[in-house]
């Protein structure tokens, strides 16, 4: 049953995506490979929209994927699946462990989890961007006529560097760069 799978998969995400923000990204990327519910492009689109609308990014993205997979019911199930584990766990913790986050085992576990999450996100970014930046299918063509531009989407790469520099220099809210990219995309016919 699709609804059950949807619930269980997002329950899993809600349980293991530790460290906030985009921590769910690697797990969502995993869903792409496992079920093909969405494509890499669609996931990136959803993240952009989730960053630009009210509500936490993780929730927005789950709702989006749930909707695309199974309509309104899917949206509701995916979102509830995502928050379910924390609802249970936090109720238990709030009742018994008021300073749970300061417990030595928790702190030391997270000293290991934090760099791992950074790596998972970096890896997900690498996977998602491969389709944007490279054309590996052209590698099978004859070597003789192969130009550099056949392998590498230089337009995308330039934009990546441009936007990234802008982020480092100006440090504005993400929605600013999303809109800027949209305008550039329309202007230069990406």
């Amino acid at each position: 049953m699709l609804y059950l799978t949807l619930f269980l998969e997002f329950f899993k995400v809600g349980l293991f995506a530790l460290g906030g923000g985009l921590a769910a990204l690697p797990f969502l990327q995993d869903l792409i490979e496992k079920y093909g519910w969405i494509t890499a492009e669609e996931l990136l689109n959803m993240i952009a929209i989730s960053e630009s609308t009210p509500g936490a990014i993780g929730i927005n993205t789950a709702t989006f994927i749930g909707y695309n997979t199974a309509g309104l019911m899917g949206a509701i199930i995916a979102t509830i699946g995502l928050v379910f584990p924390s609802l249970i766990i936090i109720s238990i913790i709030a009742h018994y462990f008021k300073s749970f986050n300061e417990h030595p085992l928790v702190e030391s576990a997270f000293s290991g989890i934090r760099p791992a999450v950074a790596a998972l996100i970096a890896s997900a970014a690498y996977e998602l961007s491969r389709g944007e930046l490279f054309y590996p299918q052209n590698l099978t063509f004859e070597i003789n006529n192969l130009k550099f531009s056949d392998l590498l989407n230089y337009k995308a790469l330039l934009l990546l560097i441009f936007i990234f520099t802008g982020i480092r220099v100006f440090k504005k809210h993400p929605i600013f760069y999303i809109i800027a990219a949209a305008l550039i995309g329309i202007l230069f016919k990406f």
Binding site: L15, F16, L18, G21, L22, P26, F27, D30, E41, N45, A48, I49, T53, P54, A56, G58, I59, N60, T63, Y67, L72, A75, T79, V83, S86, I89, I90, S91, I93, A94, S99, E102, H103, P104, E107, S108, S111, G112, P115, A116, V117, A118, L120, I121, A122, S123, A124, A125, E132, L159, L160, I163, I167, H173, P174, I175, Y177, I178, A182, G185
Partner: protein, 219 residues
């Protein structure tokens, strides 16, 4: 009577989520304005404490903070009300956007725009990873775990679930080997003893006006 308060909690968190854009920390000033300044239901210190706990528990930090705060207000029912309130704006807005999105994607202009937007998202993600590194303790252990995890996921295709569990275990082992754990346990225990003593004093003396336990008795 209880239902009225639960609905109130639901709507307050609905409102909070409506003004939260992006990351979990964005919700903090809004939650403070609504719950601390306007209603006086919790203290600012409480909010930051819930946020800290929310960072160390599974789930989305913003939602965890909402759940914890809801629990502190009205137990498990409060937690449910707060959580449902917090996710509802997302459900409504995103469902609306998603239902139109597929149609908009047919339009060439949108295709051009979103092809570039996807690149921007990648750039934003890279920036987040860099920020995570800058905020980290930058030890060689962290770097080692980073590299191992990256290789394990990208090239060995090991599930992120196992990698999270592995890194949690590694974190504990590393702190144990470095001799930090014993002292940390001592600190934690003595801290807890102090907290419990303080709490007992507060309850018996009723000197703390922000003690929400008193407020609930008014219902």
């Amino acid at each position: 009577m209880i239902m009225k308060k639960l609905f109130h909690i639901f709507f307050i968190f609905f409102k909070i989520a409506s003004f939260t854009f992006g990351g979990g920390y964005a919700m903090l000033p809004i939650i403070k304005r609504e719950l601390v300044d306007n209603l006086g239901w919790v203290t600012e210190k409480d909010i930051y404490n819930y946020y800290a706990i929310g960072q160390s528990t599974p789930g989305i930090i913003a939602v965890n903070t909402a759940t914890m705060t809801g629990y502190s207000l009205k137990g498990f029912k409060g937690a449910v009300a707060a959580t449902l309130g917090f996710i509802s704006p997302s459900l409504i807005i995103i469902t609306l956007i998603a239902s139109f999105f597929k149609r908009f994607q047919e339009i060439k202009v949108f295709q051009h725009a979103f092809a570039a937007i996807q690149i921007a998202v990648v750039a934003l993600i890279i920036e987040i990873v860099i920020k995570m590194w800058q905020k980290s303790d930058k030890t060689k252990f962290s770097l080692l775990i980073f590299i191992i995890t990256f290789i394990a996921l990208s090239f060995l295709k090991i599930s992120p679930v196992y990698l999270i569990l592995f890194s949690a275990g590694m974190g504990i082992i590393i702190q144990y080997l470095r001799g930090n754990l014993k002292q940390a346990f001592k600190n934690y225990d003595s801290q807890n003893k102090n907290h419990n003593q303080l709490e007992e004093e507060m309850i018996t003396n009723k000197t703390n006006p922000n003690n929400y336990k008193n407020k609930d008795c008014d219902q």
